[in-house]
């Protein structure tokens, strides 16, 4: 029996995932959570074989919890999300997710990915694999660093350099430097454009 925890903040989507997984005989959903905090407790308690995880959670980014969820009890993670975006797919897999399934694909695919994750395997749709190959071909100097990604997220909230500096406890000068690097890497001329490009590439 494959024991599964489902994490998604939309109640009817969550019910739909549970209903479809339960249709597969060897899968049993042992718990559901609507946010990262509840999920953390649930996973520690239930020690599931597989976690089906949405990346848009109300309290934290799903990307940020993948590593801790995987490390906690060696669970296989299947990301089930509305957005692709090459950088996001790469980041999810890099942090330990086994598969990345886009919402809207037939649920048989989600079931197959769940079985694969329990067996320690990955299943990538052609769409996801293509995006991943795109990232790997990107030259290193055009790849956004973790720090820059953090700054991008704050830029996307419309924060000024000064506020970003305070939040990250670095100088405004350093923020400006990072913003300059970001513009170069993304091929953007201003921060609005950088945010738009980053979103299209799944960096946010």
């Amino acid at each position: 029996m494959i024991r599964v925890v489902v994490v998604d903040d939309h109640p009817i989507v969550r019910d739909g995932i549970v209903a479809n997984l339960a249709d597969a005989e060897e899968i049993r959903v042992v718990g559901t959570a609507a946010d990262a905090a509840t999920a953390t407790d649930l996973i520690a308690r239930e020690r599931p074989d597989v976690i089906v995880l949405d990346l848009e959670l109300p309290d934290r980014s799903g990307l940020d919890v993948i590593a801790s969820f995987t490390a906690a009890n060696n669970a296989g993670i299947v990301v089930f999300t509305a957005y692709g975006g090459e950088e996001r797919i790469a980041a999810a897999l890099e942090r330990g997710a086994r598969s990345y399934v886009l919402k809207g694909t037939p649920s048989d695919e989600l079931i197959a990915a769940t079985r694969a994750a329990a067996a320690g395997e990955s299943r990538l749709s052609p769409e996801v694999a293509t995006a991943l190959a795109g990232v790997m071909r990107l030259p290193r100097r055009l790849r956004v660093t973790e720090r820059e990604r953090e700054i991008l997220a704050l830029l996307a909230q419309g924060l000024a350099n000064k506020t970003i500096a305070t939040r990250l406890d670095i100088t405004e000068r350093t923020v400006k430097f990072h913003v300059g690097e970001l513009l170069d890497r993304l091929g953007a001329t201003n921060r609005a454009q950088a945010v738009a490009i980053a979103q299209a590439r799944g960096l946010l």
Binding site: N20, D23, G104, V179, G180, A192, A196
Partner: protein, 350 residues
């Protein structure tokens, strides 16, 4: 606008060479916003790609003040030993800080081969010009900020689309799949109906995702086409050293999809100019009326060979396809006066 200022002030002070650096507030980097009669030395790309020089440094340290027009021995202008003098004899320039009440905006530099110390009156004139130009730049920046606000609005809309429509459709799809699975082998009529409902739902999810993607990944970032082309030109100039100018005469309001395709065509044309043309200037012209919009990108480079063998390499196929997708036409030419030009005309719906 800035070039016109350089011309007028230059004529008044008999300084026929000038250029303007503007500071990009987000990255604190200078880009070359305008220039007039640059000597050969400065026309070489590498010399004008915002590498720091003394006037920039003194501007940054606050020493270059609006009320004190400095004459700086220019590190950019110093000649390299053993290399023929390409600076046209220019060694010094007057630097005027451009600032508004609150912001440091950039530097206007003026010079000429017949350099002489400027009189008190000349300096006052420069100072006044600096203040007025600063004001004009500030106004243009505010207009850009309005564009950024529009972009934020699009992002908000995208998030809302995702949180409501896309999520609900996903939920509907999952529940239909579940129901259909439990009807397997029976109730053919009901299963067919659910199959249709599922197909429509999946298509809607895909459409919603596309709309969200378009709202988020808009290359124009909420700006008008002419504003987006202007920033593209700035970026191109500061990266390549090739001076790009945009002339947008009474550009009509276009459907967003037309804006986006035209922007991409210009972007591809510029990348050709940079890689193949060996040009020093490139002009982007946008014009149109109620019936059609016309975009032309022309450079003063070596003139590219438009024969079929090169069409693929120069990305001409892609540009033509984009133009045709809009029901428009695409032409590539090597004008008699030299260089290369591409022309795109797109008819507008009546």
């Amino acid at each position: 606008m800035l070039e016109r200022v350089l011309e007028i002030v230059g004529r008044r002070l008999e300084l026929d060479t000038g250029w303007v650096w503007l500071l990009d507030a987000d990255s604190d980097r200078f880009y070359l916003a305008a220039s007039l009669n640059l000597p050969p030395l400065l026309r070489r790309p590498v010399e004008m790609t915002a590498e720091p020089c003394w006037c920039m440094e003194s501007f940054a340290s606050g020493a270059l003040r609006g009320n004190n027009v400095d004459v700086v021995a220019c590190s950019r202008l110093r000649s390299v030993p053993g290399v023929p003098d390409l600076s046209g004899g220019i060694r010094y320039h007057a630097s005027v800080a451009l600032r508004s009440a609150e912001h440091r905006l950039g530097i206007m530099n003026l010079t000429g081969p017949a350099w002489r110390p400027l009189s008190e009156r000349d300096l006052q004139l420069l100072e006044t010009v600096g203040a007025i130009v600063g004001l004009a730049i500030e106004r243009a920046t505010l207009a850009d900020a309005a564009g950024a606000a529009r972009s934020d609005e699009r992002t908000r809309l995208a998030r809302e689309l995702h949180d409501t429509l896309a999520q609900d459709l996903t939920a509907v799809g999952l529940h239909i799949e579940h129901a259909a699975r439990h009807l397997e082998g029976q109730h053919d009529e009901a299963r067919r109906a659910l199959g249709t409902a599922l197909a429509v739902t999946r298509r809607s999810v895909a459409n919603a995702r596309d709309s969200i993607g378009a709202l988020r990944g808009d290359p124009l970032a909420g700006k008008t086409l002419s504003a987006a082309l202007a920033s593209l030109a700035h970026q191109f100039t500061s990266e390549s050293g090739i001076r790009a100018s945009v002339e947008a005469a009474s550009a009509p309001v276009l459907p967003h999809s037309v804006d986006v395709e035209l922007y991409r065509i210009v972007n591809e044309a510029l990348s050709n100019v940079r890689r193949h043309s060996d040009a020093q200037r490139v002009r982007i012209r946008l014009a149109g009326d109620a019936h059609a919009v016309h975009v032309c990108v022309s450079d003063d480079g070596i003139g590219l060979d438009a024969s079929a063998a090169h069409a693929e390499r120069y990305g001409l196929v892609g540009m033509r396809e984009r133009a045709q997708r809009l029901g428009g036409s695409f032409a590539f030419s090597v004008p008699p006066e030299g260089g290369t030009a591409i022309d795109v005309t797109v008819p507008l719906p009546p």
